[in-house]
């Protein structure tokens, strides 16, 4: 929820900025737009991971985080929280879409589909610290697609994925790029 709200705020303030600009040059570029969205997403995810999941599960030890959070009366995993936000946005608007994907996904829904997604996810694995930006044409429409790395910050990122029955990869380690955030904006 919080994710979505902030996303919407970021998106609308960007829209206002563009609207007030008058002539075309005053608008922001697709990359500035996706970079700003990603900054909000990454910050919210870090805050949820640290101040909600980390604090309540490791410091206070009052609740667990679980993939089966409904059955287990637990907190949703950060990746699930992220996907729920993305799904809510997708219901509301066609202005942009986003998803957390991986070449080695636990949830097959998170596998890359387009050629640019596959290329970009490989690029961010091969080029640590760099993002990937490319235009692509899908169904006759042009899109700007940006892909940002998602990194294993903690040993649990790697161990939970490595041990998960549905994970196609079992040797993730801290510091690895495990996947990426894909943000897509229609052009023109």
């Amino acid at each position: 929820m919080k994710n979505t709200l902030k996303m919407t705020l970021a998106a609308s303030s960007i829209a206002i900025l563009t609207a007030c600009g008058g002539d075309k040059e005053a608008g922001i570029s697709p990359q500035q737009f996706t970079d700003a969205l990603h900054l909000v997403m990454d910050s919210d995810r870090a805050v949820y991971t640290k101040k909600v999941v980390g604090r309540l599960t490791k410091e206070e030890k009052v609740i667990k985080a679980s993939e089966h959070f409904m059955d287990d009366k637990a907190l949703p995993l950060p990746a699930q929280m992220f996907r729920f936000g993305a799904e809510t946005v997708a219901e509301k608007t066609d202005e942009f879409t986003y998803s957390l994907q991986s070449l080695w996904p636990i949830n097959s829904q998170n596998a890359p589909v387009t050629a640019v997604e596959k290329e970009g996810l490989q690029f961010i694995v091969d080029n640590p610290g760099k993002n990937f930006y490319k235009e692509e044409t899908l169904g006759g429409k042009n899109y700007f697609t940006a892909i940002y790395p998602d990194v294993a910050v903690a040993p649990v990122c790697a161990s939970c994925h490595n041990d998960h029955k549905d994970s196609p990869k079992t040797d993730f380690k801290v510091g690895d790029v495990m996947g990426g955030v894909v943000i897509r904006v229609p052009l023109g």
Partner: protein, 111 residues
């Protein structure tokens, strides 16, 4: 003629580079290479709550703690206000000295 010219060019080149680069600069360059290999994946952009290189605003408070504290946190890991810094950035092959060079480089670019 040609053959003998090569070594002297090489010598001149070595002398030139020796004169223009102070030990601090050499250390910074070594630190940069280590940083690019291990630390950039998070600190280039500030992923997952890490302070991005060059962001003076985010680094000022951290730099105030002093280099010895930053060295210690980079070697042993650190869970502060914003995220989780993994010990040695997850690269256990790095020596203490290499981690320190990388920290010094990142700090030099962020103040």
């Amino acid at each position: 003629m040609k053959i003998s010219a090569y070594p002297s060019i090489a010598v001149v080149a070595i002398l030139l580079s020796a004169c223009s680069e102070s030990p601090e600069q050499v250390a910074l360059e070594q630190g940069k290479a280590i940083w690019e290999g291990t630390c950039a994946v998070c600190h280039a952009q500030g992923l997952a709550g890490s302070p991005p290189i060059g962001n003076k605003k985010m680094w000022a408070k951290r730099i105030e703690k002093g280099l010895p504290v930053l060295f210690e946190h980079a070697k042993n890991g650190f869970s502060g206000e914003t995220g989780l810094m993994p010990p040695r950035g997850g690269n256990e092959d790095l020596t203490d000295h290499q981690v320190e060079l990388a920290v010094k480089y990142m700090v030099s670019q962020s103040q």
